[in-house]
């Protein structure tokens, strides 16, 4: 039986200490080998995909659940994008129309036009003479014959004032006060700001945005849980393997890796199917949507996902997949301990 340590001569203890310092290196991780690291990752990337394919039906079901969960926020995002592109077009049209008193001379009207266009909050002023106004009117309304029967042109001079501020909820009060100011000018009979509908629309878009964010957040959590649970079951089904790996000296990060890749694949495949769903859906609704917008005399082409958004969608879904499996795996692998 070995002697208790306190009976050992001090000198021997000292040499033993230096020896143990030297030997301690055996317990440290070997120096980092990048090539090996890459090779292992590549092997895991392929191995985890093969595992998914080995259970095609179960994997497909999980992937489809993820795809549906992801395609809802994705689809709402596309919807919002299109609504915004439509409103962007309308924003450019937002003007304050000044109907001048009909007894005003052309020169006075021109002078007012110049005066207004030099204002800091005005982008430009379009001068529409009585004759031009008449021509527009005839072209667009089909009252050509009635107009030609009138003894003289009844239309006033119109100044279309285009404000610098882009119309949205924040600038609306500013624009309204600009309208009020213009209305108070002596030359102006009536000033009209075309913005009430915009206020309503902007509120709706704002509401829509928040709705999309909330839904997206919920569904991202759902995806995290689905991936987490799937991976947790995968770890559980490979419990024996995890134990043997721990026994033969696998690090936790090594054991974790194939499961993280599995989460990665679930995320990517879910993302691919979600993109497909959204694109099919966009294609399906594009014809009626475009016809609907045409009714409002606006040029419109429904936008689906573009390349950048597809890549973003896949990146995000892959990321969610990895995070979901990370949460499940790191908890679970720690719990599986040799006994």
């Amino acid at each position: 039986m070995a002697k208790p340590p306190q009976q050992r001569p001090a000198q021997r203890g000292a040499t033993r200490q230096s020896l143990s310092n030297n030997r301690q290196s055996a317990w440290r991780a070997p120096s980092f080998d990048f090539k090996l690291y890459l090779r292992q990752h590549q092997a895991f990337l392929i191995e985890s995909f093969t595992r998914l394919i080995a259970h095609p039906l179960a994997s497909l079901m999980t992937v489809m659940v993820l795809a549906i969960s992801l395609s809802l926020p994705g689809g709402l995002f596309v919807l919002l994008k299109n609504v915004q592109s439509v409103t962007d077009q309308w924003e450019q049209q937002s003007v304050i129309s000044l109907y001048l008193f009909s007894n005003l001379e052309d020169t006075e009207a021109l002078a007012l036009s110049h005066q207004l266009s030099s204002r800091a909050d005005v982008e430009s002023v379009e001068y529409i003479s009585k004759e031009e106004g008449l021509r527009y009117f005839e072209q667009s309304s089909g009252y050509e014959q009635i107009m030609s029967t009138l003894p003289e042109n009844p239309l006033p001079i119109v100044l279309k004032v285009i404000p610098k501020a882009i119309v949205d909820l924040n600038t609306l009060p500013e624009l309204q006060s600009l309208r009020d100011h213009l209305q108070s000018l002596p030359q102006v009979e009536y000033a009209q700001l075309d913005a009430e509908w915009l206020q309503r629309l902007a509120t709706m878009i704002n509401f829509g945005q928040r709705f999309v964010y909330a839904i997206s957040a919920l569904l991202v959590i759902a995806v995290l849980l689905i991936v987490g649970n799937t991976i947790r079951m995968a770890v559980e089904s490979r419990r024996d393997e995890v134990l043997v790996m721990k026994l033969v000296g696998a690090t936790n990060s090594y054991i974790r890796r194939p499961f993280l890749y599995m989460g990665f694949w679930f995320g990517v495949l879910g993302g691919v199917f979600a993109c497909l769903c959204i694109m099919i859906l966009a294609w399906w609704v594009s014809a009626p949507a475009e016809r609907l917008i045409e009714l409002y005399h606006a040029g419109f082409e429904l936008q689906s996902f573009n390349a950048v958004e597809i890549i973003m969608c896949l990146t995000i879904s892959a990321f969610i997949g990895v995070i979901g499996s990370w949460i499940a795996v790191s908890r679970h692998i720690r719990d599986i301990e040799l006994q």
């Binding site: 070995a2 208790p4 340590p5 393997e241 721990k246 026994l247 040799l338």
Partner: protein, 223 residues
């Protein structure tokens, strides 16, 4: 590898004293048997060496290094230097014999060429060279036990631990397995085998450590 226990005690959370005041010194290249009735603490002792459990009192030195000074992150690297044949952590039946034996090498990041060579060398030592492509399920109990041994030695460990390696085997197969351990010991590997088969242990003529209710009651002589 050199193992030294200094008054080691292990008390489980349930309050059960699995080991108490256990001291022994296993020299580099030595072979010893660990015997005792079931529940005497043989498995606990092995788990302490593997750092599956930690002792509650005393000191365990491996090659002069106090295991208590090693953190959690050092455990995998410690285990890579120890080959184990444990009864309850056996083979994986979802892969071939080759891949079972290759596992420790994969874990420590050996390349394919090296892995192939070492696995075949290990299988050759245990006499299963021709069966590397089979599923372990297709092999007999004795052969499965030998796959476990091949897996334990494939990484060229400095210490070989075996917990009841002959548990379910008939006497002839048991003797074969013990001879295998002796061969590994002959090339310099420190070997510690837990077994309750006293007759077999006596025939092997090696140092015997006997545990009784967690205490070392005999050290040295043949059982």
């Amino acid at each position: 590898m050199e193992i030294e226990f200094q008054r080691v005690g292990k008390k489980y959370e349930s309050g059960h004293d699995a080991l108490s005041q256990v001291s022994f010194h296993l020299q580099q290249g030595e072979m010893a048997f660990l015997t005792g009735h079931s529940g005497a603490g043989k498995s606990t002792l092995m788990k302490l060496i593997m750092m599956i459990e930690r002792q509650t009192t005393g000191k365990i030195l491996v090659d002069g290094v106090d295991l208590r000074t090693l953190g959690k992150s050092a455990i995998p690297f410690h285990r890579r230097r120890v080959g184990v044949v444990f009864q309850n952590h056996q083979l994986l039946f979802d892969r071939s014999v080759f891949h079972n034996v290759a596992l420790p090498l994969q874990v420590s990041g050996a390349d394919d060429e090296q892995t192939g060579k070492r696995v075949r060398a290990a299988l050759d030592k245990v006499g299963l060279l021709g069966k590397e492509k089979l599923n372990p399920m297709a092999l007999s109990g004795g052969e499965q036990q030998r796959i476990g041994i091949a897996r334990a030695v494939v990484n060229k460990p400095q210490l070989l631990l075996a917990d009841e390696p002959t548990g379910n085997l008939d006497p002839r197969l048991s003797a074969e397995i013990m001879n295998l351990f002796q061969e590994f010991n002959r090339v310099g590997v420190t070997v510690l085998v837990a077994s309750h088969d006293l007759a077999l242990v006596a025939r092997m003529r090696h140092r015997v450590l006997t545990l009784n209710q967690g205490r070392m009651v005999n050290d040295g002589g043949f059982a």
